[in-house]
């Protein structure tokens, strides 16, 4: 029983903690005034990074990584893979996750039938929860070409000359 409870706690924890907070819910998208986010890997680093698009030029892109507050510049040719993350696909992600979590806990009152209801609940609610956490995306270059990318930057016109890049947060 302890192991079972551990699984519950882990599953609920995973659901609860992994929300991409930088993305807007669809209902809040019109109030999103920062740039959209780029999920990318480079030829030098295979790790998948996420950063806000600050400025896009013909040869390079300036990004503000979500992990730190220092702008980096990456050449277009150095990017191996890139997706633009637009927004979440759910307006009520927390509520749906709570609902899904409660359904799984509810399996505990099913006694023997928990061996059926728990996996069914778990798969269904996990799938729902994962989808709720999912994001609308654009593949580069399939869905958005490099020259179209600038309109998703914080500064679609480019970083104004008067602004010190180091002050951008």
């Amino acid at each position: 029983m302890k192991n079972l409870l551990k699984i519950f706690v882990c599953v609920i924890f995973v659901w609860g903690c992994s929300t991409p907070k930088y993305l807007s819910a669809p209902k809040d998208f019109k109030n999103h005034v920062k740039g959209l986010y780029l999920e990318y890997t480079t030829k030098k680093s295979h790790s998948r990074e996420i950063a806000e698009i600050i400025e896009v030029k013909d040869k390079y892109i300036k990004l503000l990584p979500v992990k730190n507050e220092k702008i980096i510049s990456i050449k277009q040719n150095d990017i191996k893979y890139a997706h633009v993350l637009v927004s979440l696909t759910s307006d009520n992600q927390k509520k749906l996750n709570t609902w899904a979590g409660l359904l799984n806990i509810n399996s505990l009152v099913h006694g023997y039938f928990m061996v059926f209801s728990l996996p069914i609940n778990l798969v269904s609610t996990y799938s729902t929860s994962i989808h709720a956490r999912g994001a609308y995306r654009m593949k580069i270059p399939d869905d958005v070409k490099w020259h179209e990318l600038h309109k998703f930057a914080r500064f679609p016109q480019g970083i104004p000359e008067l602004i010190d890049e180091n002050l951008i947060k």
Partner: protein, 533 residues
Amino acid sequence: MIKFIRNTTAFLTILIFIGFIVYSCSKLYIKQDFRQTYGTYNDSIHQNSFENDFFKVHLKNGDVSVLNEWLLNDSKDSILGKGKLFDFNRNEIKDGSMALEINEVAIIETNQLEAIKSKDKERIAGLSLLTGVNLVLDAVCITNPKACFGSCPTFYTNNSLSIHDAKAEGFSSSISPALEATDMDALRTQTSGKEFHLTMKNEAFETHLLNELFLTAIPKKKTEYVFHDQRNKFYKSNHILPPKRATIDGTNILNKVLEIDDQEFFSKTDEHDLTKKEEIYLDFNGVSDNTQGLVINFRQTLLTTFLLYSGISFMGDEVGDYFAKIETNSSIKKRLSNPFKLLGKIKLYAWNNENRQWQFFDEIYETGPISKNLIISPISKISTKNGQLKIKIELTKGLWRIDYLGLTEIKEPTLVNHIYPSKIKTLNGFPAELEKIINDDEKYLASFPGNEYDFMFRLPDLMNQDEYEVFVTSKGYYLEWIRSNWLRNKNIQKLKKMLSNNKEVWASLAVEYKIIEDEMEDVFWNSRYTNIK
């Protein structure tokens, strides 16, 4: 059960990984054209941008304004609007009416929000459906917890994880100390080994108190059968005669009762009268004039557990008081058995060819819906005609599941061994002492939900026989854990009327049971073997 659940951890882990795969497949791609940008206000007007919900203006200094209402001023050099203004770090610096000079505008942005609509409707529909299924199962389990949470001590002779493989249920009717009883069950197991292991599990929300436990081992030849009757007397036989005909209300049920298997005959309760009886008629051919016995393998449906738990829930928060009264007040203790008396036992009759009447020869009863009871009822005075014997079985509709019926010539065995366990091993739970269960005394082995104990018995040498047929006898009682939701159903008047066999209350119970009968039976019994294993 607990071990089984533990073993499903790996299975569940796999499911979680499947979830991650689902995650990787759950990306929703859109095209870039949901966002339009315009270099000037005129461009934006030409593209009907005023039809959009909002309008985002990027200024040359890096600020951005989100406007909900906007228009060009008369001199056409400023955009007037209501909304918010943010600095280059997107801190809000103004909220309300504002005028943005056309010359300061870098880019105007509009977005088609239809492209990024919330997908919650589909998710809510899916979760609603799943919630509905869960609620049905909740209702079944709340109405009859035993359908979901098991029953009394269950005994296993192998490492089965399925409740359906339980070989016996101990003292199912003993719901309080005053109702402590001895219960013998055939384990339907033969062994020729020197040691025999029996596992006792607590698979319910109950505290089991085991006073005494022993085996009865009857040595026999491989070709022989050994049975016991309701008085715990043993009989041997060599050959079992199947019925030639088995009918109920003119319907043939022979295929249901020919083999000890998963096929059982059972009927549904009467919707107005839970005590309504029905009769099974059996015809046997080739019956000798020697003493015969009717072999029956049977168990109960979920009706008695429904009644038991209805009764307890009617006690509400006085359940403790009532159970205390059962201990001290013999009339209350007696009244508690009224519902079970009303439902009645399975009554057995043989056709007497001499006076041409049905002649009662035995009645049998065993509480519990989980493990089947294989017993024999000796027919004291046989009355055959040309080797033909007719048997009538009278039973309450919807109360019994009959798996097997057969007739056999019986003789009493010469040797009966009673064997107490030599060792006890705790598989799950608190360490237990053997001395607590080898005598009928004041000492009890207390077993809590999830506890499992393995008892090892040393069997005597088989003299000129091939194997032992093994029976288990357990003595004790159990205490049901009261669920909080039961307290809500308190209805002392209904309880009193139920125990007084009040017709109206029994009629309402019949209706209540009818509503959940199909669902409860289906959910429980369709989960057998293939699914649960």
